[in-house]
C-alpha cells in the first residue's frame, strides 16, 4: 500500500528526515516510536503533504501512485488521513458543513454521487456513536473551544466519516486521560479493516496497549534504526530510548 524509499526532508533548511525506508501493507498496524525531535511528526506531515516541509530526496508510492506528486487535498481524497497532534480551530465553520464538504469532495473525486443532507446526517449519527463523541460537539465550529481530549476524539470521528485507506495517528494519545484514550483506541480498532492500514506515531507505549501494532519501528535522528514486532514496545518501555542510543554506539 505504502512504499517509502530513501525519503529525505527538511524544514527551514534543517534536514530532519535522512533516508527513511518503510513498506506498509493492507491490514497492518505499524507503530513509529522514538525520542522527541527524532522526526516522527515530520514524517507524518511529509506524507500528508504539508508544504512547510520540503522533500529533498526519495520517493513514496501510495497504492501504486506517486504520492509526492499529489497536493495535500488529493492525497486525502486518495485515502490518506492524518489525525493531527494539534488540531486547529476554524471559527465560524460548523463541524457539519466542514465534514459534509470533505466527504462530498472525496465522493466527487471518486465519481460517486454526493450524499444528500439526510443521508449525510444518518451516517454521521452512526459514526458519532462509534467514537462516543458528544452530539453537541458536531454542532459547534471546527475544534473551537474543544478540550484537548475532545479535539482528539473529533479527529477519530472525522477518520470514521472519511474511511481512509491509510490512517496516520500523530501523537493521538498526547493530552488524553485514560478514559478518553480507551475510547479513542476503541474507535480506531472498530475502524480496522483488512484492506486498510494504520500508522501510529507515538512517544509512549500506553496507546499501544490498546491499539496493538504488528510492527514497531524506532525513529532516531531522521532514520529508522530498529524494526521489530510488538515486543519491541515493552523493551523500549523498560529500557528507555537510551538503550537504542547505546546500541548505536552513542
Amino acid at each position: 500500500m505504502l512504499i517509502i524509499k530513501d525519503l529525505h526532508a527538511r524544514v527551514e533548511g534543517k534536514e530532519i528526515l535522512r533516508g527513511i525506508n518503510l513498506t506498509i501493507n493492507a491490514g497492518e498496524v505499524h507503530a513509529i516510536m522514538g525520542p522527541n525531535g527524532s522526526g516522527k511528526s515530520t514524517l507524518a506531515n511529509v506524507l500528508a503533504g504539508n508544504t512547510n516541509f520540503e522533500v529533498t530526496r526519495g520517493e513514496v508510492s501510495f497504492n501504486g501512485k506517486d504520492l509526492l506528486a499529489m497536493t495535500a487535498d488529493v492525497r486525502a481524497k486518495e485515502g490518506l488521513f492524518l489525525s493531527f497532534q494539534y488540531p486547529v480551530e476554524i471559527p465560524g465553520v460548523s463541524m457539519i458543513n466542514f465534514l459534509k464538504t470533505a466527504v462530498n469532495e472525496s465522493r466527487k473525486y471518486h465519481h460517486l454521487k454526493e450524499l444528500s443532507a439526510g443521508d449525510f446526517l444518518k451516517v454521521m449519527r452512526e459514526k458519532k456513536e462509534m467514537v462516543q463523541i458528544d452530539s453537541q460537539l458536531t454542532n459547534r465550529s471546527v475544534n473551537e473551544g474543544f478540550s484537548g481530549g475532545e479535539k482528539k476524539k473529533n479527529e477519530i470521528f472525522q477518520m470514521a466519516m472519511l474511511e481512509p485507506k491509510l490512517a496516520i495517528l500523530d501523537e493521538t494519545d498526547s493530552g488524553l486521560d485514560i478514559d478518553a484514550l480507551r475510547i479513542v483506541a476503541n474507535g480506531v480498532n472498530l475502524l480496522k479493516r483488512a484492506e486498510n492500514a494504520t500508522i501510529v506515531v507515538t512517544h509512549y507505549q500506553r496507546l499501544l496497549d490498546y491499539i496493538v501494532p504488528d510492527f514497531v519501528h524506532v525513529l532516531y535522528k531522521g532514520q529508522i534504526v530498529k524494526s521489530a514486532g510488538k515486543e519491541l514496545v515493552f523493551e523500549l518501555e523498560e529500557k528507555g530510548y537510551d538503550w537504542i542510543k547505546k546500541e548505536l554506539g552513542e
Binding site: 500528508a48 503533504g49 504539508n50 508544504t51 512547510n52 497536493t71 495535500a72 487535498d73 492525497r75 486525502a76 481524497k77 488521513f81 492524518l82 493531527f84 488540531p87 486547529v88 476554524i90 471559527p91 465560524g92 465553520v93 458543513n97 466542514f98 465534514l99 464538504t101 470533505a102 469532495e105 472525496s106 473525486y109 465550529s141 471546527v142 472525522q158 472519511l162
Partner: protein, 481 residues
C-alpha cells in the same frame, strides 16, 4: 506552497464576472457642472420649485467645499467638469409589462442573475431596478399600495408625494453635510423612495438593484426611507457594474427615518467593479448613508457586505435621538488586489437608554488597504447609553494592510462603551487542515473567510446571505500564497 502560488496566479487572473456593457441609447446632457446644469436636471425631471431650490442651495454650498482628505485613501484627482451629470435610457415613458422592456436590458439583468420575471415570482421580492438614472420597472407595487406602502422611484415620489419628500428630504443628511453629499443633493438623478405607514409591517423584502451603465456618467442615487410609527421594513440593496477602464464616480446618499417604535433593516451586498489586477479602472464609491432613530424605541440596522469598488468611502451611521432607540451596524468589507476601503460607522447617542452595536469584519488580500473608522459619541443628556463595538481584521498574504481608527467620546458618567479589536492572519495551518480532509486550498479559503464573516452574514436576509457567501468566495479565490 508552489501549488498555492500556481492556484493564486490562475484564479487571480480571472476576469470580473459581471464585466459587460449593454448597448442602449442614452439621453445625455453635456459634461461638466454649473448652475445651468443643475437647472436642466431639475427641469428635465419636471420638479417642483422646492426641489430646484434644494439643489441650487446644495450646489452653491458644494462650490465652497473641499474633498475630504482625512481618510486612509489615495484618491486620484477628480475633474468634476469631465463628468456627465445626467443620463437616462431613451425608451420612455414607463412600461406596462416586461414585454415592452428593451430586450437587451432584460438580458443584462439575466446575465446578472436577476431576471425580473423570476424576481417577480420568487421569494416575494419587489424589485425597483435602477438602470442608470431612471427606473425601468417596478413590481409588486400594487400589492404594496393596498397596505398604503409607497415604494417607487424618487422622481415618482417627487411627483406624487411632494409633501412627504419636502418634509423628510435632507432631514438626516443635509445638503451641507459633506462634499459628496452636497454634490449628490445638487445633481442626483433618481433613486428609490419608501414610505411605510403607521402600524404596517411590510410583508416582503424591498429591493433595488443598481447598475452604472452609461459611459462616463456619474451616478448620484438618492434613497429616502421613512418608517412611520410602529411600522417595519427590510430593504435590500445590491449592485454590480460593468467593466470600465476609466474610473467612475458614485456618490449616493441614503437617508432613513424611523419614527416611534418603527424598525428599519437596510442590507447591502455591494459589488461595484473594483478595477483590474493592476488596480486600473474601477468605481469610486463615496457614499453617505445615515439613519435617524427619530422616535422613541425605534430601531435601525445596517447590514453590509462590501467586496467591490476601487475606492470605498462609506460610513453608514445612526443618530439615536429617540429615547430607548437601538442601532446596529454589521459589516464585512473585503478588499483584494489594489482596492482601498475606508469604511465604518458613526453612532451618535442623543436619547436616554439608547443602545448601539457595531460588528465590523475587515478582510484584506493582495495589495489592498482596508481601514475601519468608527465614531461612538454619547451626548451629555444621553443617560445610560450603551455601545458595544467589535472590529476584527483578517489578513491574507503579506502585502495588504488593515487599520482601525476608533473614536470614542462619552459625555456622561453612566454610559458604557466597550470596544474590542483583533487582527489575525488566515493560517496556513488552517488551510492545511482543510487540505488534509480533501478540501482544496481555494475552497478552504472560501470556507475559512465565510466562517470568519458568519456573524454578519447571518444577519442578512436568506437569499442575500447565499449570494454574499458566493461573492466572498469568488472575490478571494486564490488570494493566499
Amino acid at each position: 506552497m508552489d501549488n498555492q502560488n500556481t492556484l493564486l496566479n490562475e484564479v487571480a487572473g480571472r476576469d470580473y464576472r459581471f464585466g459587460f456593457v449593454t448597448e442602449i441609447e442614452t439621453d445625455f446632457i453635456p459634461k461638466g457642472l454649473n448652475e445651468e446644469v443643475v437647472r436642466i436636471i431639475s427641469a428635465k425631471k419636471e420638479e417642483p420649485d422646492f426641489m430646484l431650490e434644494f439643489r441650487l442651495k446644495a450646489y452653491r454650498k458644494w462650490l465652497t467645499m473641499k474633498m475630504p482628505d482625512w481618510a486612509q485613501l489615495k484618491i486620484p484627482e477628480i475633474d468634476y467638469q469631465e463628468i456627465i451629470y445626467y443620463a437616462a435610457p431613451r425608451q420612455q415613458p414607463k412600461y406596462e409589462s416586461l414585454d415592452e422592456v428593451d430586450p437587451e436590458l432584460l438580458s443584462t439583468f439575466a446575465k446578472l442573475g436577476i431576471p425580473l420575471e423570476e424576481q417577480k415570482m420568487l421569494a416575494g421580492v419587489a424589485v425597483d431596478a435602477v438602470m442608470d438614472s431612471v427606473s425601468v420597472k417596478t413590481t409588486f407595487k400594487e400589492n404594496l399600495a393596498e397596505l398604503g406602502i409607497i415604494f417607487c422611484s424618487f422622481s415618482e415620489a417627487v411627483k406624487h408625494h411632494p409633501d412627504l419628500v419636502q418634509k423628510y428630504l435632507g432631514m438626516v443628511v443635509p445638503p451641507n453635510d459633506n462634499f459628496f453629499a452636497a454634490l449628490n443633493c445638487a445633481v442626483f438623478s433618481d433613486g428609490s423612495f419608501v414610505y411605510i405607514p403607521k402600524g404596517v409591517r411590510c410583508p416582503m423584502e424591498l429591493s433595488t438593484y443598481f447598475r452604472i451603465n452609461a459611459k462616463n456618467t456619474g451616478q448620484f442615487e438618492r434613497t429616502l426611507i421613512i418608517a412611520d410609527n410602529d411600522s417595519y421594513v427590510s430593504y435590500l440593496e445590491g449592485c454590480t457594474a460593468p467593466m470600465r477602464d476609466e474610473n467612475q464616480l458614485h456618490a449616493a446618499v441614503v437617508e432613513i427615518i424611523a419614527l416611534d417604535r418603527a424598525e428599519v433593516k437596510y442590507s447591502t451586498v455591494q459589488n461595484w467593479y473594483p478595477g483590474n489586477k493592476e488596480g486600473i479602472g474601477g468605481i469610486y464609491n463615496f457614499v453617505t448613508k445615515r439613519g435617524l432613530c427619530k422616535g422613541a424605541s425605534s430601531k435601525i440596522c445596517w447590514n453590509q457586505v462590501e467586496t467591490g469598488s476601487a475606492i470605498t468611502w462609506k460610513y453608514p451611521s445612526c443618530i439615536l435621538a429617540g429615547d430607548n432607540s437601538v442601532a446596529e451596524f454589521n459589516s464585512v468589507a473585503l478588499t483584494n488586489n489594489y482596492q482601498q476601503a475606508d469604511t465604518g460607522t458613526k453612532m451618535i447617542h442623543l436619547g436616554k437608554n439608547t443602545k448601539s452595536t457595531i460588528v465590523s469584519k475587515g478582510i484584506s488580500a493582495g495589495h489592498s488597504s482596508n481601514s475601519y473608522r468608527g465614531l461612538v459619541r454619547v451626548a451629555a443628556k444621553a443617560e445610560n447609553a450603551r455601545n458595544y463595538s467589535q472590529c476584527d481584521s483578517l489578513l491574507l498574504g503579506d502585502h495588504c494592510g488593515a487599520h482601525t481608527f476608533p473614536y470614542i467620546e462619552v459625555g456622561n458618567q453612566n454610559s458604557v462603551v466597550e470596544h474590542e479589536a483583533t487582527t489575525s492572519k488566515i493560517g496556513e495551518d488552517q488551510i492545511f487542515y482543510c487540505n488534509q480532509r480533501g478540501i482544496s486550498t481555494q475552497d478552504a479559503i472560501g470556507m475559512i473567510v465565510n466562517g470568519y464573516a458568519r456573524e454578519v452574514i447571518n444577519k442578512l436576509p436568506m437569499e442575500f446571505a447565499v449570494e454574499a457567501q458566493k461573492l466572498l468566495q469568488i472575490s478571494l479565490e486564490g488570494s493566499v500564497g
